[in-house]
């Protein structure tokens, strides 16, 4: 177990390291003055010089690379071109905003999707099954930003039930703090993007759970359980569903990755000030330090999610021996 853990963590770190390096060199390979991607051209020349020295931009590329890595280790992501303030200070809140939107909706979507998938497979051949399969596939095929726009059009504009976007009403909370995240105003803003994300994310676990259940139901141990006289409900939950959760767990890292990466789109539609929106805005402003930092954090979330799901799989399936 311990060795497996170390190996997985090592792999995750390696992945992040490679991504960081690729990012670094990609941005330095840009045509023109390479420092232009690190230091805002808008600064006074003197300030530019000072920053150049601080980030070692006057030194050879490989030295810059090590300085960059060293800075990352202390969460120094450089200075934003746009606000001219350290990136690290601005990005923390954004990270929290992304997490409060994505994580709860993923949990709910997974719970609903897996349960519904299991139930329709168990009662195979019902009309509900056909309808839900079609619905899930159609939702999966729908661009999530469009779904978001329809939701706004209908719930916010027509019915005036929810705000059109943003995380809280403007000016209400000058400072993002715990009080804000607990306020009704926040929940009111959260509701719509939350529901849209649930609708979108529910498809995959639903479809996967259904097809896994269909093959699990044909397994010998289900028949044996039935012969043993185990009550049907217990067979459903304790045997069929329990076993069908395994593939869902293996694909969880992928899905978590998609969800975090997909936050770019959903945050844009709802003007939700998370990492994804930050990244899109920063790209638009050519604010490269922020782009890199936001990308890295999203990557950390993705890779971290993968790691977590791997460990979970190990707990769910006793056959996995930690090598």
């Amino acid at each position: 177990m311990r060795q497996f853990l170390i190996k997985r963590i090592w792999h995750a770190l390696l992945t992040l390291f490679v991504m960081v390096s690729v990012m670094f060199f990609m941005f330095r390979m840009l045509p023109g003055d390479p420092t232009a991607t690190v230091i805002s051209p808008a600064l006074y020349p003197k300030a530019q010089e000072a920053l150049k020295a601080q980030f070692g931009l006057d030194r050879p590329l490989h030295e810059q690379y090590f300085i960059y890595l060293r800075n990352l280790l202390v969460f120094d992501f450089g200075i934003s071109f746009h606000t001219l303030r350290p990136v690290a200070g601005e990005i923390g809140n954004r990270l929290i905003n992304t997490l409060v939107l994505i994580l709860p909706s993923m949990v709910v979507a997974y719970a609903i999707g897996a349960f519904a998938g299991a139930m329709v497979a168990w009662k195979r051949g019902s009309k509900v099954e056909g309808f839900l399969v079609l619905l899930a596939t159609a939702l999966q095929s729908t661009p999530v930003f469009w779904l978001g726009m329809l939701a706004i059009l209908f719930f916010s504009i027509r019915l005036d039930m929810f705000p059109v976007g943003h995380i809280v009403s403007p000016g209400k909370f000058p400072e993002a703090n715990l009080q804000m995240y607990l306020s009704l105003d926040f929940l009111h803003h959260l509701a719509l993007p939350f529901m849209v994300n649930v609708a979108y994310q529910f498809c995959f676990p639903f479809l996967l759970m259904r097809s896994t259940m269909l093959s699990t139901i044909g397994e010998d141990y289900i028949e044996l359980a039935r012969m043993k006289g185990v009550p049907e409900n217990r067979i459903l939950y304790h045997h069929a569903m329990r076993n069908s959760m395994l593939p869902l767990a293996t694909t969880l890292p992928m899905i978590l990755g998609w969800a975090v990466a997909g936050s770019v789109v959903i945050e844009t539609v709802f003007s939700w000030p998370g990492l994804g929106l930050l990244m899109v805005e920063a790209v638009g402003r050519s604010d490269y330090p922020v782009v890199q930092a936001a990308f890295l954090l999203i990557a950390v979330l993705t890779v971290g999610g993968t790691l977590l799901a791997d460990l979970m799989y190990g707990i769910l399936d006793p056959r996995i021996t930690y090598k």
Binding site: H11, S141, P143, A261, V265, G284
Partner: protein, 288 residues
């Protein structure tokens, strides 16, 4: 190759869901090819009424079935023009993705050992990449046109095909006909591409359909985020224009059609892939 594809079509045609999906897909292909010829207006043509006034945000009328945009463009015409880039980009990306994925999977699975572990490490790293953010960063660096979009999508999409193919090659490698080919002195290249590759075809085809579905949606998302090719009107970019103009909530006719078109097209692609997979993958079939 030809036989595999005709078998592919036959399998899909044999199920009702597959038949409907294939018909819808063919319809979309037809729109993509013929659409620009029958479109009443150009995709960026501005339309003026008799008084010489721009026809802005007109709701659907007999003249403009799907209304007009803020800049006085005919949505119906844009829809007809927009199918082509959506499909071209989707199909090219899907083919490229599967080409890379299949080759990586074949090499890793067949050669094994060092090559395998290195290739799989690389695949894992790509699996960790956040999909859309990476594409956006890449596009912001390379500039935005159809080819960079295809390239960016390909780079992050081959990873899943590679894994599936590798797993399949690992089991094929132990089969007798491969061992037989090896004893007759066939080269590794011959064994990989003449003996193993044909057996991988079904998986590659499933990969193509799912990659196509993904690519179409991703292309739309890229367009929506404003990173599409600014000179091309695609279904995704129509939605982006509506969104960026801030008028979308006043003009549903502008936003709803492209979304529905994408949804219907991608749904049909998914069902095609699944109809085929159910037959190719006996585990699912047995249960069904």
């Amino acid at each position: 190759m030809f036989r595999t594809i005709s078998r592919f079509l036959a399998i899909i045609w044999s199920s009702p869901a597959g038949r409907i999906s294939l018909s819808i897909f063919c319809l979309c292909v037809a729109i993509a090819t013929l659409g620009p010829l029958v479109a009443p207006y150009g995709p960026t043509e501005r339309i003026y009424d008799e008084a010489g006034k721009l026809v802005r945000l007109s709701p659907p009328t007999w003249k403009h079935w799907l209304g007009t945009t803020l800049l006085g463009r005919d949505v119906m015409s844009q829809m007809l023009w927009g199918a082509r880039p959506a499909l071209t980009i989707g199909v090219l990306t899907a083919l490229g993705t599967v080409l890379i994925g299949v080759n990586v999977g074949l090499l890793a699975g067949y050669l094994g050992g060092r090559v395998d572990s290195i290739l799989m490490r690389i695949t894992d790293i790509f699996l960790g990449l956040p999909f859309l953010p990476f594409i956006i960063v890449l596009l912001s660096l390379t500039g935005q046109n159809i080819w960079t979009i295809i390239f960016a999508m390909m780079i992050v999409m081959w990873r899943s095909t590679a894994r599936i193919v590798r797993a399949e090659v690992l089991s094929l490698r132990e089969r007798q006909f491969i061992a037989a080919a090896r004893t007759t002195g066939a080269s590794d290249f011959d064994i990989i591409y003449k003996e193993i590759a044909p057996n991988i075809m079904p998986f590659a085809l499933v990969g193509v359909t799912f990659a196509l579905a993904w690519a179409i949606i991703t292309e739309a998302s890229i367009g929506f985020l404003g990173f599409g090719d600014p000179n091309v009107v695609s279904w995704g970019s129509i939605i982006y224009d509506a969104y960026a103009s801030q008028m979308m909530y006043r003009a549903p006719w502008w936003v709803v059609p492209p979304g529905i078109a994408i949804m219907v097209l991608v749904t049909s692609v998914y069902f095609i892939g699944r109809a085929y997979e159910e037959v190719v993958n006996p585990r699912i079939k047995q249960a069904g």
